[in-house]
């Protein structure tokens, strides 16, 4: 059987989970202990607090255990309010490995099980010894693929071959952040501060004091972006696309074939002259991360933080093999309704996929595979009625990406609404018959 006995996490887990708190305690306490100018009582109080925290951490470690049983991962935790969590592997969307800075120091890693479903939860095994994480990840993925218990033991042995598809150069990442919205804001703030400082030092001081929270906030945003997307590597493995990234906190995510709900390409205005774009994938399952090892927030995963169109096309070939051409613009009269974004509005569809572009300053292109479409909606506002136009939404799981065919001619809307549900049904049938085949049948695979 595949069942494993109950296991505990790594004993250092509470320390790593404490994250910044742990670091702060060490920084505060170490000098205090060696300095003699404190009364003994203060020292005792501090030691008492630390001891209490350590006991709490130890207890939480003691009462947390996990195991694999049949096709489920079971996690039990909590002393007073006992919680028993069950994660069916058949609904597993992907397995991520996250290693915050502190975890790397202690050679441990966190395993995140991303589950599907509208209430999609994330199972966290934080933390496990680094050496165990990779085999366990492969084993879970093998079980999720429906491998029989006997063969799953065999599939653990060979390490899958990964071939690198792309590595994002640091220079380009820095350049792209500098001309991004967050980056520009940070630069504006910096320049403003320097100018104020040159004019009057005291004024600059008061500005810094007043807006410290904001400055730190902006700096954190820029830093987080850089830290997350540093040295992002996309590799192809039998489990799907593997995305590694991070400077201090390392994350390794897997995008399984056939689990892509939608793909989004963003081309900010300032990036367009460099020919850059950003590619994000919507995968079912929420991610609520806390603590230091923050992998990407939200549901969209960046597979290409910045890169040329050609590079994006190459990845798209793997994510959405059968892509329609984005060519059909809405009728001219739609200019009255969407004057700013009219030139961005395009749509295209074939029998397996819908693609739309939109945006005012930046261009956003969305691909939705039809087998992932949840529902179709026609919406017509008063202005659109005057112009004989309507908008069709193709909804996907959650609130992430959705394809919106904005301001289309009514005749076309009728045709789209009649055809898409039928095509989607056929696509779902194909997908149900052979989920992996859709991706595996891509050219050159």
């Amino acid at each position: 059987m595949t069942d494993t006995p109950w296991q505990r996490l790594h004993p250092l887990s509470p320390v790593v989970r404490g994250g910044r708190g742990t670091i702060a305690i060490v920084i505060v306490l170490l000098p205090a202990l060696f300095r003699g100018d404190r009364t003994p009582i203060e020292v005792y109080i501090q030691i008492g607090v630390v001891a209490l925290l350590m006991v709490l951490g130890f207890v939480s470690w003691l009462v947390t255990r996990w195991r694999i049983a049949d096709d489920d991962v079971l996690i039990e935790t909590g002393l007073i309010r006992r919680r028993s969590l069950r994660f069916p592997l058949s609904q597993l969307q992907s397995v991520d490995v996250v290693r915050p800075g502190l975890a790397r120091l202690f050679r441990v890693a966190e395993l995140r099980l991303r589950m599907g479903g509208s209430t999609g939860n994330t199972g966290r095994l934080a933390y496990l010894p680094e050496a165990e994480v990779e085999p366990l990840r492969e084993r879970l993925l093998a079980l999720a693929r429906g491998a029989t218990p006997a063969s799953s033991a065999a599939t653990v042995a060979p390490t899958p071959v990964e071939s690198n598809l792309l590595v994002v150069p640091t220079r380009r990442l820095v350049a792209s952040i500098l001309v991004s919205d967050v980056g520009l804001f940070a630069e504006a703030v910096t320049v403003a501060l320097i100018v104020t400082a040159v004019l009057s030092t005291s004024a600059a001081e008061s500005v810094i004091r007043g807006g410290l929270v904001w400055i730190i906030g902006v700096a954190t945003l820029v830093w987080r972006r850089f830290n997350q997307e540093y040295h992002l590597t996309v590799a192809e493995s039998p489990d799907g696309l593997r995305v590694h990234s991070g400077l201090i906190a390392l994350t390794a995510e897997t995008i399984r074939p056939g689990r892509v709900q939608a793909v989004r390409m963003v081309e900010p205005m300032l990036w367009r002259q460099f020919g850059w774009c950003r590619l994000e994938v919507d995968v079912a399952g929420h991610q609520r991360s806390k603590g230091e090892g923050q992998a990407q927030r939200g549901r969209l995963r960046t597979v290409l933080p910045v890169g040329s169109r050609a590079l994006a096309e190459e990845l798209l070939e793997r994510l959405v093999p059968d892509r329609p051409v984005v060519d059909s613009p809405p009728p001219q009269r739609a200019r009255w309704k969407s004057p700013l974004r009219y030139r961005m509005l395009r749509a295209g569809r074939n029998s397996t996929c819908v693609v739309t572009t939109s945006g005012r300053l930046r261009r956003v292109t969305c691909w939705v595979p039809l087998e992932k479409a949840q529902s179709f909606r026609e919406v017509q506002g008063p202005l659109q009625r005057r112009l004989q136009l309507a908008t069709v939404h193709v909804d996907t799981v959650g609130r992430g990406v959705r394809a919106v065919l904005r301001d289309r001619d009514l005749e076309e809307v009728d045709r789209v609404l009649a055809e898409l549900p039928v095509l989607a049904r056929a696509a779902r049938r194909r997908y149900a018959a052979e989920p992996a085949a859709i991706v595996a049948s891509r050219p050159g695979a």
Binding site: G116, S118, E378, P435
Partner: protein
């Protein structure tokens, strides 16, 4: 604005029960009376008697205008069960038509507030995994709501598809 045109074929639209219109009318009437009294008293005491009367009259006028729209809003509601999906249409100012495949419905719930209950009505909500697609049909008789719920659940089960 021919909704049936969007489906390309003949579909028979069902509409909510007439009692929904009565319920909505009563709701608007009650709201108007409350608003008129509140605005009239407030302005009448704080500013002057004539202001109170004017406010009350204004509230009643707004109520009457809304009442005129109610009938159109009521007749805009419609739903149709097709072989593989459910169509729901609604809206006068902003017209909406949803196509929800049975296999995509995750759960159906039937709700009835105190006013709806006293009229023997209920609202059926259809939920898919997409947050945006949640469709609802108000003003169904209790039997029709139960029938729809059971039928949708049954069809959803037989046509369920993974994410």
């Amino acid at each position: 604005m021919d909704a049936a045109g969007a489906t390309g074929e003949h579909v028979t639209w069902r509409t909510p029960d007439r009692r929904l219109l009565t319920l909505r009318r009563l709701e608007v009437a009650g709201g108007t009376v409350l608003a008129a009294v509140a605005a009239g008293l407030l302005l009448g005491v704080v500013v002057a008697a004539w202001a109170g009367v004017a406010a009350a009259v204004a509230a009643v006028v707004v109520g009457l205008v809304v009442e005129r729209v109610l009938g159109r809003r009521f007749s805009a509601w419609g739903y149709a069960e097709r072989e593989d999906d459910l169509l729901v249409r609604r809206g006068v100012l902003v017209y909406r038509l949803s196509v929800v495949p049975y296999g995509r419905m995750q759960y159906i719930d039937v709700r009835a507030g105190p006013f709806e209950r006293s009229f023997g009505l209920a609202t059926v909500h259809m939920h898919t995994a997409a947050a945006a697609s949640d469709a609802r049909i108000p003003g169904l008789t209790r039997e029709e709501a139960a029938r729809l719920r059971d039928r949708l659940a049954e069809l959803g089960e037989s046509r369920a598809a993974g994410l």
